[in-house]
């Protein structure tokens, strides 16, 4: 196993105009775990506002909660992260029979709001059932998604699900991930949605990808093939995008400005490992 280490700087800046007393939960802070070490981070809120950080789950994902009154709100987050993905002999990763799946991954077999895997069993088995199982099968699903679905900004909205996208054949990163998740679950593979920063994404934005449980761990996949998976910096995760939006807003606020960055230190370009396994948690 090689254990490359790289240093990545990420940032996000969100500006809101707020019209009513509003409650926010932000998923913009990078997760901390053994393969993704937060070396340094700052959060600046204008006007100065009390924040409450809490754990979104027990895998190092953290949410930031705050309340704001009418007016202007600016949220600036910056972090430096040391990434040490484990890159290995991915193609050999196998699928785990249902009877042997760890209890904690079982919920990721259930259908969710944007990943209606229960409706896609026959679809998934007819298209992908005959392939070699394991990593290669998931990779084939990503190839298929990448091939059959057009990446097109504005083609979907917050209510679009994997089934919608499979019919209309267009979407954005979140939709690509949802289709991947839904097809994997339909085949009996535990799968979950991951949000994050991504080095090399053009135009820069938050990114959405997904993970599949294979052999003994979760492995990252990105059917958009828009950036190297070893430049992904994880923020949140969940059953689908409903569980990890960059901002959850209850009240009345309008996002009027937003910028996101992710840069590898030293400017060295990352090898495109879109086809390698990156153990993730």
């Amino acid at each position: 196993m090689t254990k490359p280490r790289r240093i990545i700087d990420v940032s996000s800046m969100l500006e809101y105009e707020i019209f009513n007393s509003t409650s926010f939960i932000f998923n913009i802070a990078v997760a901390g775990n053994e393969r993704q070490r937060v070396l340094e981070e700052t959060l600046e809120i204008v006007p100065d506002t009390e924040t409450h950080w809490f754990d979104l789950n027990d895998e190092g994902c953290r949410s930031i909660r705050l309340s704001a009154e009418p007016g202007y709100l600016k949220v600036c987050y910056r972090a430096t992260v040391e990434l040490s993905p484990e890159l290995g002999c991915a193609p050999n990763l196998g699928e785990v029979p249902h009877r042997e799946l760890p209890v904690e991954v079982l919920p990721y077999l259930n259908p969710s709001r944007y990943c209606e895997s229960d409706r896609l069993a026959r679809f998934a088995w007819k298209e992908f059932g005959g392939l070699a199982s394991g990593y290669e099968r998931v990779n084939s699903i990503c190839d298929w998604v990448n091939d059959c679905i057009d990446y097109q900004a504005g083609s979907t909205d917050a209510s679009s699900s994997a089934c919608d996208v499979l019919l209309q054949r267009a979407g954005v990163c979140r939709d690509f991930a949802h289709v991947g998740v839904a097809l994997c679950r339909a085949l009996g593979l535990p799968a979950r949605y991951v949000s994050g920063y991504s080095v090399g994404l053009e135009p820069p934005d938050f990114h959405g990808f997904f993970e599949v449980y294979l052999e003994d761990d979760w492995y990252l996949f990105d059917p958009t093939r828009m950036a190297p998976v070893n430049g992904f910096v994880r923020i949140g995760l969940g059953r689908d995008a409903a569980d990890a939006p960059f901002a959850n807003i209850v009240g009345y606020a309008i996002l009027c400005n937003m910028s996101v960055t992710a840069m590898a230190r030293g400017g060295e370009s990352l090898p495109d490992s879109g086809k390698s396994a990156v153990s993730s948690a």
Copy 2:
């Protein structure tokens, strides 16, 4: 052009238990047109009931209307039909550019209840846009439908549409036809649903197929490939199955028994022309 003639006997028997005064419209009588001549037909209703026959359209399709009071109702229809389909060099049939389509076929480009072609434009163009146009493209669509969708009794119900079936990948003849219609319309090909009797269908039942407007006429296609298209005896047609159900019932009646037959005279077996064009009207 060869003009084979064949004699086909069809029948349908429907028994209802009626609980309230009920109004029926039956689409069980064979259509009469120049390629499908009705040599003889009988309709028997028990108890004896006044019927009103009317033209469903100007292509020879006829509906039968009657009202019935609570109790038992039995409807028996029998006909002998002479079929003279035109079988020709189908593979050469071309598509007609939108600007040249006859005015009367234009409505069959519109999306309908069970054929949401508006949602499937990208799907259809990505899957079938690169193929040679005309008859061969429609035939490829039928091959694809036949290959990708499982024929399975009970897998759909009266509210299932082409989109539902494309996701669940299972359906019955009506669903196969709806998917064919929706994909053709999405590609700019006028397409419509046809109901009928079908020699050789196993188990015997009413059948649903579809027609596409090519070159200068409507041509029959059956993506189920369950029976030879030159043994199809047309009953009704419309934008989709909503326009030509075998029985339209307003009131409260339960179908308690039903049988359908279709036999070619002389018992000669029909050549399987599933891949030949059969000009239809």
Copy 3:
């Protein structure tokens, strides 16, 4: 019966940028029938282009067909219409039992792409089944739609159906009409979509409303209550908006400018007859 007459001037101007050879069908010309007499009309196309006018149906609706090459296209239509709606004792209009419905209105009982009446039978009967039948029931449906659904520009798109709108509770005129049509059909009332010009609509635009077959004729209803129904000038009609879009475009063209006007001569304001029956054809 009073037979008021009024003179209305309408116009529409559409400008397109065309990128490929494109085929258009416009539904912008006013229909001519005994209650809506076209006194004068002009159609100007820049650059000068051959047009083909054809009857959309046998009720006086007319479509305009043309083909255009890449570049700029401007379509200007103007007409002066004499409207003589029959205003009568609407509240007494009764429903026609299914068994007595004229054959030609039967297709307007079928579910259509944007009016899935088959899915709404129980909904419609539970909400409106107990009301007095006839005109008053339809008027109650319009009140309910107006009350329960918010008129909000941009809340729906070309794929939104009555079911979508019933869930999200927001839409535009086309959606209000679709919900009205779907609920009426679900109750056994033939109903159809009508497009037109409308005096007093703010902001000015094409308008969508619907008609229900009662007693012996079609009657106009507009659940948006945004303009007096006796200022409606009919263009097209069909099962739903799919049958009468103001422009049907096959090719690649972008609408870059559009304006619509409808003014009653003499500037006299029309009495708001949103609750009166206006016999329509």
Copy 4:
């Protein structure tokens, strides 16, 4: 606060015919918590099969996992439970502002597979937004669901969601609960699905209801009003029914027989507390 105690005997028996090596997860064992004490329980499997019990969550819900080979499988579960629901002055229970909700209830605000709360915000606010907040609002939602939706066995299937049921206006207990959950979440109230045994349910079966987080705890609601909520014995819970099916089956097995019972000891009839709050966890 009164703290009634009652003893309830429950059982379930499931018989399967198994055609392939099959992996099962059963949610049939009663949960153990401070208000629901398991006095005694037995699980009998024929043929004798090794089972693995695991915690579905940290609220006392337990799942049973086993694998079975082709042949016959019978699962019999019996338990005696002491229920001590807290019955209090429910109508005074208030809603908790979003900013003050405990972190662990936040996921129950997210839309899920069968509870598409994101699509129902306007619906919920227009119907229920004007009501007094808190327990009474949830109770009004239950009244509305009970009133507007018909309980009808067979009207829905495993893919039916709250939106489907809101349109078709018919469903079973699971659907009633899903609609309640979806509407509550749309209003900002954390809500979750609960499965269980229920004294007095006719015909006897597993039951589905839901819980809403109010004031400081989760409270039970049952919009079917088919049995007293203080006779509910909890099994599992989750975002919706996908998280707590009585059996999750991967393989090929057919349920060929099933019976469920729930009886209060001493035969004393339980007061119908359908309108009382029953604190639940």
